[in-house]
Amino acid sequence: MEQFINISYIVASVLFIFGIKMLGSADTARKGNALSAGGMLLAIVVTLLKQGIVDFPMIAIGLLIGAVIGGFWAKKVQMTGMPELVALFNGFGGLASVMVGWAEFQRISASGVAGTAVTYTAIVLAVLIGGITFTGSLIAYLKLSGKMGGKATTFGGQKLLNLLLFVILVIAGIITSMNGNYGAFIAVLFVALLLGVLGVIPIGGGDMPVVIALLNSLSGLAASAAGFAINNNVLVVAGCLVGASGLILSTIMCKAMNRTLGNVLFGSFGAAAGGGAGAKVEGEMKPVSVQDAYYVLEAAQSVVFVPGYGMAVAQAQHAVKELGEILEKNGAEVRHAIHPVAGRMPGHMNVLLAEADVPYEQLTEMDDVNPIMSTVDVAIVIGANDVVNPAAVEDETSPIYGMPIINVHEAKTVFALKRGEGAGFSGLVNTLFFRPSTRMLYGDAKETVTSLIAEFKD
């Protein structure tokens, strides 16, 4: 029987593997979810066959209560409320791992025979990670559902407090692992719960989806740790799968926001520290990888291309047209904004874009695109320079002051495609490239656009 159960666990794990894989692509996602649910059912059923499982009434009641609550909430929730519900569920999962760890700890304590260091360590990890997951998810839930201010909350001495808690945690953790001291165990639990709160409070509501993905990864790890504690392989495998894939997912989500994970998690601390000093700094040209640019574009709703002489030099027009088509298929609104002096002859861009068969309808004049620029998610500047130089509208001393430009600097994100630090025809420095919302995609424009296309095509 034990063999059978364990083989079933293997099957369940395989179902989880397929489930996760299929969830990653639109066509198969729903079936993937069903598969993984099947795996879960299998794991639950065969567990009930385990030798030594006796208290079926208790189990039945527990399952029933849980299923009713979970089912009810899941059915009732509005589309808009789903993310916060997921956060809540995730928190419960974390707490469940805490409970499993705690129960095992109790069992060992009660049995009188001391557990091994490995088991204790596993229990500590399960409780620690599970605890953080629980309160962290709860805060995320509160923020998302508006029951708590969505803004990033920081307070003085927070860093110090965190440090203190960390020290306590390490000491208590070590003590527990060594000899299963109950007090230390409770200390770990307590600190974990606190850390979850403190960790999530400073993060703004807009970043919550990433945080939930990360907490989700953590709850997987907590389950995995619980698996080590009770020596159960399906817990280890399924938990670890979730842990790893969740981590990747949160990274991907960060990239789609043009952020890093570190920036999301600890960004507000930096902000708190560096705040106050409002001086306008020059900044630097921040390069971005094609892959990261892809994640941003993939999530963009409106995109404006701004071609310039560099597009002509690179002969990138066909690639640009294709990228435009792909973005449109992906659901974005695509425009090509042509500045009257772009290129080196009147109508330079028109010739090229007509050659690439960009429909005339997508060609937008400067005066038409500027008013909507602030609603644009991404402006892609392709080898243009002078025609997007904000100095023309901002810097009275600039030789091009007074020339109307395409105001890409108002777009949410700007990707500037250039080969290097080269100036435009007029030889002026362009402050656009130094702005916080601008990212540089260095390299020949055609190659860059082609690699962007490649990213879209998997």
Partner: protein, 376 residues
């Protein structure tokens, strides 16, 4: 066998039947090639170009006609010249057989095999000898280049520091070979092109070149004959078509009409009121001028400026405006024709009257009219 290409006599004809390249290929095949002196003058070739490839340049037209087994020329011959031909000789040219019954009779009398280029079947196999196609193609191109040169505006769109120049709007009526090439050329130059034809498959073809197809529901039966030529429309259909077209014309800078119905006078597709609704300075090129014109007001061979400043060009022989290539492809058609029926062993033409292609284009043979449609 001897092949002779006489000088074209019509004033307007800038093309000729043979260029040096095809002459050379014919000679390689085993023919003796004679051309009348001055043949290539208008299309950019000198007599020396012909002699250098081995053709004989002769000044005596009459002897050339009399001794030739094959006579190739562009335009139909004068009746008088037919009588000079050898009995059993092959005469290949445009003939306008529906309107030139007398000419056909001369061929019969003289027992000359007359091939009408117009009657070349429009099959895949015969396409290499299809002079109507090869010439219509160039007519389509020259129509656009003429329009570009005559227009007060330009074709492409330009967003310039001095404002945006909008692209020219071009409307092509009749999407045969000429219409398609006109679409392609106008598109290349950057115009917005709309196109119309009564044959639905032609609309798809226009779209395959990037034009916008104007789809008008004419009701009733329309479409092409099995030969690929258009059927004649009922008056009501023409009426309705005119209405829809007028709307497009009013907005167009250039209108090019190419609709011929084979063997008849071309239909008038653009009425005077439509022309009057067009903008000052816009241009109409009527490629059907020679067969009567698709536009009311077209005068063959001339530019007409209407009261409201619309210019209608009814020039004849449009393909002749690029005579060098027109001659090149036409000569190639002649060569392909000869080559197709050439018998290598006997070094003669094998003209099996049951052949599908000959059935289509051979009008007279052995002293009688053998073509189904012209039999009396």
């Amino acid at each position: 066998m001897e092949l002779f290409a006489p000088l074209e006599k019509e004033e307007i004809e800038t093309r000729c039947a043979l260029d040096p390249v095809s002459a050379q290929k014919l000679i390689k095949l085993g023919l003796t090639v004679k051309v009348e002196s001055g043949l290539g003058n208008c299309s950019g070739y000198k007599d020396a170009d012909y002699t250098s490839v081995g053709a004989e340049v002769i000044s005596d037209r009459n002897s050339g006609l009399a001794s030739a087994d094959i006579v190739c020329r562009v335009s139909k011959p004068e009746a008088a010249e037919i009588t000079q031909l050898k009995e059993g000789a092959l005469h290949v040219s445009f003939l306008d057989p529906f309107n030139e019954a007398a000419l056909l009779d001369s061929f019969v009398t003289q027992k000359v095999k007359a091939v009408s280029l117009e009657m070349m079947p429009r099959t895949t196999l015969a396409q290499k000898m299809d002079a109507l196609s090869s010439q219509a193609n160039l007519a389509g191109y020259t129509a656009v280049s003429l329009a570009a040169e005559k227009m007060l505006k330009i074709f492409p769109m330009m967003m310039t520091p001095a404002g945006t120049i909008s692209p020219a709007k071009v409307f092509i009526v009749g999407i045969g070979v000429a219409g398609l090439q006109a679409i392609a050329t106008a598109k290349r130059l950057g115009a917005r092109v709309t196109a119309f034809d009564i044959r639905p498959e032609a609309l798809e073809q226009a779209e395959s070149l990037g034009a916008k197809a104007l789809r008008i529901d004419l009701g009733g039966e329309t479409g092409g004959t099995s030969q690929g030529y258009a059927k004649e429309l009922t008056p009501e259909q023409i009426e309705k078509q005119g209405l829809e077209q007028a709307k497009v014309c009013a907005q167009s800078d250039v209108v090019i009409t190419t609709a011929k119905v084979f063997g008849r006078k071309s239909p008038v597709l653009i009425k005077k009121d439509t022309v009057d609704s067009m903008q000052r300075g816009s241009i109409i090129i009527d490629l059907a001028a020679e067969s009567g014109g698709n536009v009311e007001g077209t005068v063959l061979g001339e530019e007409v400026v209407t009261e409201n400043g619309v210019r209608i060009f009814g020039y004849a022989n449009m393909e002749g405006r690029v005579p060098q290539v027109a001659t090149q492809v036409l000569a190639s058609n002649f060569y392909n024709f000869v080559e197709h029926f050439w018998d290598k062993e006997s070094k003669t033409l094998k003209t099996d009257p049951e052949d599908e292609i000959l059935k289509g284009c051979l009008i007279t043979d052995n002293g009688e009219i053998i073509h189904e449609r012209f039999k009396k």
